[in-house]
């Protein structure tokens, strides 16, 4: 696992961009004609959606590489991507609920994208729970990768089943569907969350690798004999 400062720079750059884009969106961008100020949540909601889905897609590729190439480094990256993806999708559901109450009149609606995101949070959150209950690092890596692949393969079926069942959500927002006045804060925040997400995945992966090294290290001797050098008690 590489040990540079790049992930931290990425997190810092992402946070700065997010601050810049959000300030622009909240204070300088014009209010939307029909929804008014409520629409301003779009500047974080839409980038969170894009990057949340991207993080879980990255997790899927790490899971495939973990099974295909073996080695626990891919598992550490998978853990990082899973955690960040689940956090972003949880934030997405919360932002969606905050936006839905004044717009649709309810906190929650059984719309395909909203419901699929909630199912994703539980499906991938379940894998994070599984990781806590498996002690063997090799088994943990294999099972997490298998579960992540199955959960990812399930996403389109969940989406279409809920879509047939019920649909209310508006068409997804892209630069083509929103006014030019809203483009810049949306783009800046999208890149802000992208840098934040990439940096956090790398930092979390490094932390997972360090934790695994600690798990795999031989246990310390029960007691250092009197007069022996302290260096003998240090892990190799």
């Amino acid at each position: 696992m590489p040990r540079g400062k790049l992930p931290y720079y990425s997190v810092a750059l992402g946070a700065l961009l997010l601050l810049w884009g959000s300030t622009w969106g909240l204070f300088f961008a014009p209010a939307e004609t029909y929804m008014g100020d409520v629409q301003r949540i779009m500047y974080v909601h839409v980038p969170t959606a894009w990057n949340g889905m991207l993080a879980l897609t990255i997790a899927f590729f790490f899971a495939v590489l973990s099974l295909w190439k073996g080695g626990l480094d891919w598992d550490a990256r998978l853990e990082g991507a899973l955690e960040v993806g689940v956090v972003l999708c949880t934030l997405l559901c919360m932002q969606g609920a905050i936006w839905a109450k004044p717009t649709w009149g309810v906190w929650w609606d059984w719309d395909p994208r909203l419901t699929t995101t909630a199912v994703l949070v539980f499906a991938f959150g379940g894998i994070l729970a599984l990781r806590q209950f498996v002690d063997d690092p090799v088994k943990r890596a294999t099972w997490s990768a298998v579960a992540a692949i199955i959960a990812f393969a399930d996403v389109p079926i969940v989406y279409f089943s809920v879509r047939w069942w019920n649909s209310l959500h508006q068409v997804q927002s892209t630069p083509a569907t929103v006014s030019r006045a809203f483009h810049w804060p949306l783009r800046i925040n999208a890149f802000g969350i992208l840098f934040l997400m990439s940096g956090l995945i790398a930092v979390r992966a490094r932390l997972a690798a360090l934790r695994r090294e600690d798990e795999l290290a031989p246990p310390l001797p029960a007691a250092v004999p009197h007069g022996a050098s302290l260096a003998q008690g240090v892990r190799p």
């Binding site: 379940g126 599984l130 692949i149 959960a151």
Partner: protein, 221 residues
């Protein structure tokens, strides 16, 4: 193929020998159906309308008990390692276990149908299509359920982990089975039954193939 039959025979025999446990799971499912009616109230029309949902929720909750126990015998005294040494592929072991679980869940679902008819007054003369949906739904629950049961049987807190992993995954099975069952009971003027059956079939094709491919990796270590 020979390995698959031998493993299937072994799994069905195991199911038969633990039939007392299957009876307990049935009692759990039936009591769940009874409790759902208390949650909704005694209005016959409302209960009849929600009958399909209650049936599938009862079956889904009961399925976790059946599935969680399905690898119990293999988890004890390293029996799974012994099975992997036999000249049968891990894939054959998976399909045998998944087929045995499908059989158990199908019988459980079929057994819960009369309870649904009695408690919710949801009778239908179209029994063969209803049994077909119960079979497809049971297969949909068993395919990922068997794979996850193989994992969680070797992990701590397996009774909690299995539903946690399985329930979000089988949302399409629940939706499609409830809709299809409801259309069979209440009528299908728009001809939607075919679409929901197709969705269930697609789920089964994807998960039976994918889980069969991945099972070897789950048990190989």
């Amino acid at each position: 193929m020979k390995g698959l039959w031998a493993a299937l025979r072994k799994d069905l025999l195991l199911q038969w020998r633990t039939r007392a446990q299957a009876a307990a799971v049935y009692a759990f499912g039936a009591s769940a159906l009874l409790l759902f009616s208390f949650a909704v109230g005694p209005q016959a029309s409302l209960l009849r309308e929600q009958a399909a949902g209650f049936l599938w929720l009862g079956l889904m909750l009961s399925s976790t008990l059946t599935l969680a126990e399905s690898f119990q015998a293999e988890a004890e005294q390293h029996a799974l390692e012994g099975l992997l040494l036999l000249p049968a592929s891990p894939r054959a072991l998976y399909y045998a276990k998944a087929l045995a679980n499908t059989t158990a869940l199908f019988l459980l679902g079929t057994g819960l149908l009369p309870m649904m008819v009695i408690l919710y007054d949801a009778a239908t003369p179209r029994v063969p299509p209803l049994l077909g949906i119960v079979l497809l739904g049971s297969a949909g629950l068993s395919a990922p359920g068997t794979l996850y049961a193989a994992m969680t049987a070797q992990a701590r807190a397996r009774q909690t982990l299995l539903p946690l992993l399985l329930f979000p995954l089988v949302v399409p099975v629940l939706l499609a089975s409830v809709k299809a069952t409801s259309l069979i009971i209440h009528g299908d003027p728009m001809g939607q039954l075919g679409s929901w059956t197709l969705l269930l079939t697609c789920f089964n094709v994807i998960h039976w193939s994918l889980c069969g491919l991945l099972f070897e990796r789950v048990v190989e270590d």
